[in-house]
Symmetry: C2
Subunit: 590 residues, 2 copies
């Protein structure tokens, strides 16, 4: 992982690739890498779909190693949705494979001069880019099937669906999972549109070294990256895995029910945004809970406990079969089930799973899509609870009809087009599945994260609701600013390692597990990172991001929730968002 | 003009009116009044369509007097298009009538709790507000006809069309002209949507004092407002009118050909934005020039020389008849002819006139609509030059189809929905009919005006192209910042007087005419305003506006043209916009 692959899509005579040393970016991985490149190389006032924007795809510092949980990948650029800097990250196989192929980042630059669509193939022999207009408007599943037929089973793919080709602000970058399905997505902020603007449909990765000599005989793939101190690394990894397995959240809750274990929990505490953020409890919650979902999956022969990438020991992923027992989609995540479920008043798990599939296939962010459908329902385009109408809306996006163009542009544009006042966005990005009035810590993160409303940027739900890593009253403003600040710093650091963010539950609660994480990094790179060093890295990343946003025109005025969260009481607790503006402005005082 | 009419549309039990003294707003008129009320009373971060926004309608300081040219009216609020403060102004009859009825402003506040549509009737006896859902979705012409049938001939109307009711960001507030036609519009910034959000369809004004006793016998209307020093006022007005009549622009060019006299001029200098700002000259210019238009109007029995309000001596307005000699629309303005003409590659004057009529009727800003159609053409929705497709797009807006919802949201949203990179907007508002590369002074105004891209905010075309009030090379950055600064200050002051901005040509060139303007104000109000006082007023207005925008989250980053104006050369002069960012930031240093 000692080089950066730069692909200039706007070069005269067609795309031009160059592998360059890390240079000033040495020591960065994941989000630190994407945010460093974007903040240094992208003009903050450029058009997100223009030649000056860049799409950066970077594995984490530990990706491609034998470390558990290290398969996350970061995608960065100037966001078409927020207009600010964006890092969206994803699971799936490409992070490990790209790291093993030696690339610390792929940077797509420039803009093609015509409308050709390109595929990029990367293996041990280098990079090959070719025009392939037969891929135009292929949904992700069909695209991956085509790549499999062309390049074999040992590949993994980074791709965009029709939404990305149409440059929609809710378009994702898709990553294939262990079964070579395009189920993992860098979803937020429309980075799929940036990839679309570069004319790149798919990046196929293959880390095969030796192919089987007879048909069907196994191929040999690249080895794990080798640590500086293999023994210490192995020991640290063992302690790390033990720590994850012994914690209730990462060892029990997530494996058994996946992220959707949260539906019942959030509904119980009254923080589950229902009917476009109008109330905190949903009558139909039990029908779409993680428990019900896992039971349904088991009954239909699907697998509720499964990892999204090799090396995962939490196994919060899974598969979802239809009534006939056929694969329909991966196990929908809590955020997806909420966005298309309670937030739209829908309690039919099969219909929600269908929407999950359609979002993955068209390449649309499930959170933005669900939030947008709810806004459209408030605009009168469909009734809350009408699952078939919601499904149809996703098809409109995938087909690029005029209605689809509006919906595919996200909740903020949809609200503007239909004159809806109650639109739950910050910096133009839709809020996820926690109401900021009933979970005030996450409200601070929504308001202040450089990413726009993003739960993963500083998951205060842990301390506010799950009581992991601390206990801060969810309904009161006290302590939320400090909580969000610390979480945003820690998250920026973790997102740079390639580690799944869910390790945070164990790392925050168990000092030994945190030490094991430090030991993994130190034994791999031969360095002496301390807790303070992790904090410094997180602060450095956030500072780069906020600096970019400031130059793009963001001020404290953008670090705010929409006004109605301060005035409209939220049932059942009848609370409003109580964190004062002047306190929000202290989040980044350190 | 000693009171403000406040109408709380959100009061319990229905709208509640109160007439209150001017208080802190004494001495303000027009734009100074709207911007003062908005900046003091509207929370900068509120939703433009929410209860906290206000719609302020204010005649100028000299409106309702015997002074020539004093019939302009200002409309203000937080803009649904830009998200910043907005003043849009209009001609027509209501300014004079409202001033004579004694109101320095109407302020629509709050938001109705249901979907009823209201009409407001104001006469000497007071204010009457009633629900009238029969008006729903009436286009402006039908609406005014209905009001005429109901209230008689002696009224004038302030209204919204379907676009305003649908809360579209390009919706106008319409004002009737001398013939009681809804042809004058406070067009920019979507203030019609704010009026729509308040549930007010129309405000009918009637300044009749005594009605004729038999059918058809004339009614007596209110007298002009009386100056403190009637003799001096009369003398000043005579000198003022003489000055206007003796200047080439206000005495000859504008009366003969209307504002569309500019088509040939801008085309000749290569500053006429053609095909969505791709080049500076249009092959079809001569077919849609003011000269051709005036000739067409004369041939068909229409009137090319006409005022938009009583008291106008410039007479740049007119009427446009169809081929059969029937009234089609008012004489389309230069901006409208350009927006729907050269900018869309259309050179059919009748089709352009039809679009002008449709915009007026649906209540859509002609500049935003034309710029949006051109962006849609760039997106491939129609071919440049296809007038029927352009007409159909306006119908889509008026009908509120999904496509219409996109287009009605303006050029920025349309660009976003269809992934178009070249979108000529500043602060979300489309640029008018002067390319900022070939007329660099207007580029400074587009970039820095608190209103978003707005030619009227500091009309540097005068010095850059017309060589009125000075001579600054249009193609070079030198001197443009100072020019735009002085014009923006002067404009903010003139927009507060109720005077038509076109007086500026004579006022800038002829010291005597400027003195006559001061004398008009001084003799009317018994004050001693000097040139410095005018400058101070303009600075005060701009400062209030910029302060609001700063609190709404605007920074120097929003005071910029889209990047492509700095990199894409503009034919025939092959120039880019050359004013440096750091110089743009000096516009408001005084």
């Amino acid at each position: 992982m000692d080089k950066i692959l730069r692909i200039d899509m706007g070069a005269d005579g067609g795309p031009k690739t160059s592998s360059v040393p890390l240079g000033q970016y040495a020591g960065f991985g994941g989000r630190a890498m994407t945010s460093a490149i974007v903040s240094k190389e992208v003009p903050p006032l450029c058009h997100p779909l223009g030649a000056e924007n860049k799409l950066v795809i970077a594995p984490g510092l530990l990706s491609g190693t034998a470390s558990a949980m290290s398969g996350r990948i970061s995608v960065g650029g100037k966001s078409p949705l927020t207009g600010g800097i964006k890092e969206a990250n994803s699971g799936g196989q490409p992070s490990q494979v790209l790291a093993r192929l030696g690339y610390a980042a792929i940077v797509l630059e420039g803009k093609p001069k015509n409308n050709d669509l390109y595929k990029v193939f990367i293996n041990k022999d280098g990079v090959k880019i070719s025009v392939d207009n037969s891929l135009k408007m292929l949904p992700n599943y069909d695209l991956v099937a085509k790549m499999k037929a062309e390049y074999g089973e040992k590949i993994c793919c980074i791709s965009i669906g029709p939404a990305g080709e149409m440059k929609m602000a809710s378009a994702t970058v898709a990553f294939t999972d262990m079964e070579l399905r395009p189920t993992r997505h860098a979803g937020r902020g429309g980075l799929g549109a940036v990839m679309g603007s570069k004319g790149v449909k798919v990046i196929v990765l293959d880390d095969t070294i030796v192919r089987g000599s007879t048909p069907g005989s196994p191929a040999v793939t690249m080895q794990m990256r080798v640590p500086k101190d293999p023994e210490k690394f192995k020991d640290a990894n063992k302690r790390f895995v033990d720590g994850l397995k012994s914690h209730a959240v990462t060892g029990q809750g997530l494996p058994a029910y996946g992220t959707n274990v949260l539906t019942n929990i959030l509904n119980e505490v009254g923080g589950y945004p229902t009917y476009n953020f109008k109330q905190g409890r949903f009558d139909g919650a039990s029908k779409i809970s993680g428990e019900t979902q896992a039971e349904t999956e088991k009954t239909r022969g699907a697998n509720p406990t499964h990892g999204c990438h090799r090396g995962c020991v939490i196994q919060c992923s899974g598969t979802y079969n239809d009534k006939d027992g056929h694969y329909l989609t991966k196990q929908p995540e809590y955020e997806t089930v909420w966005a298309h479920g309670g937030n739209c008043g829908i309690s039919d798990l099969d219909k929600i799973a269908m929407m999950d599939f359609l979002d993955d296939n068209y390449g649309i962010d499930t959170i933005e899509m669900g939030a947008t459908i709810a806004v459209a329902m408030d605009a009168g385009l469909a009734k809350f609870g009408d699952a078939d109408a919601a499904i149809q809306m996703i098809h409109e996006v995938g087909k690029g009809t005029h209605l689809g163009r509006i919906l595919g542009s996200g909740a903020a544009v949809t609200g503007k087009a239909y004159g809806v006042e109650r639109v739950p966005v910050v910096k133009g990005q839709a809020m996820p599945a926690y109401d900021p009035r009933a979970v005030q810590g996450i409200g601070v993160t929504y308001a202040t994260s450089p990413m726009g409303a993003d739960h993963t940027a500083g998951y205060a739900v842990a301390q506010n609701v799950l009581k992991v890593g601390g206990d801060v009253n969810a309904l009161k403003p006290e302590g939320q600013v400090e909580l969000s600040r610390n979480l945003q710093i820690a998250t920026a650091a973790i997102d740079s390692t390639g580690m799944c963010l869910f390790i945070a539950f164990a790392v925050l609660d168990q000092p030994d597990t945190f030490q094991a994480l430090l030991d993994l990094l130190n034994s791999f790179y031969g360095m002496n990172l301390t807790a303070d060093g992790v904090t410094d890295l997180g602060k450095k990343v956030l500072t780069m991001e906020r600096d970019f946003n400031a130059k793009a025109g963001f001020t404290a005025a953008q670090d705010r929730l929409p006004e109605y969260f301060k005035s409209e009481k939220f049932a059942p607790h009848n609370v409003t968002f109580g964190v004062k503006d002047e306190d929000l402005d202290k989040v980044f005082n350190w």
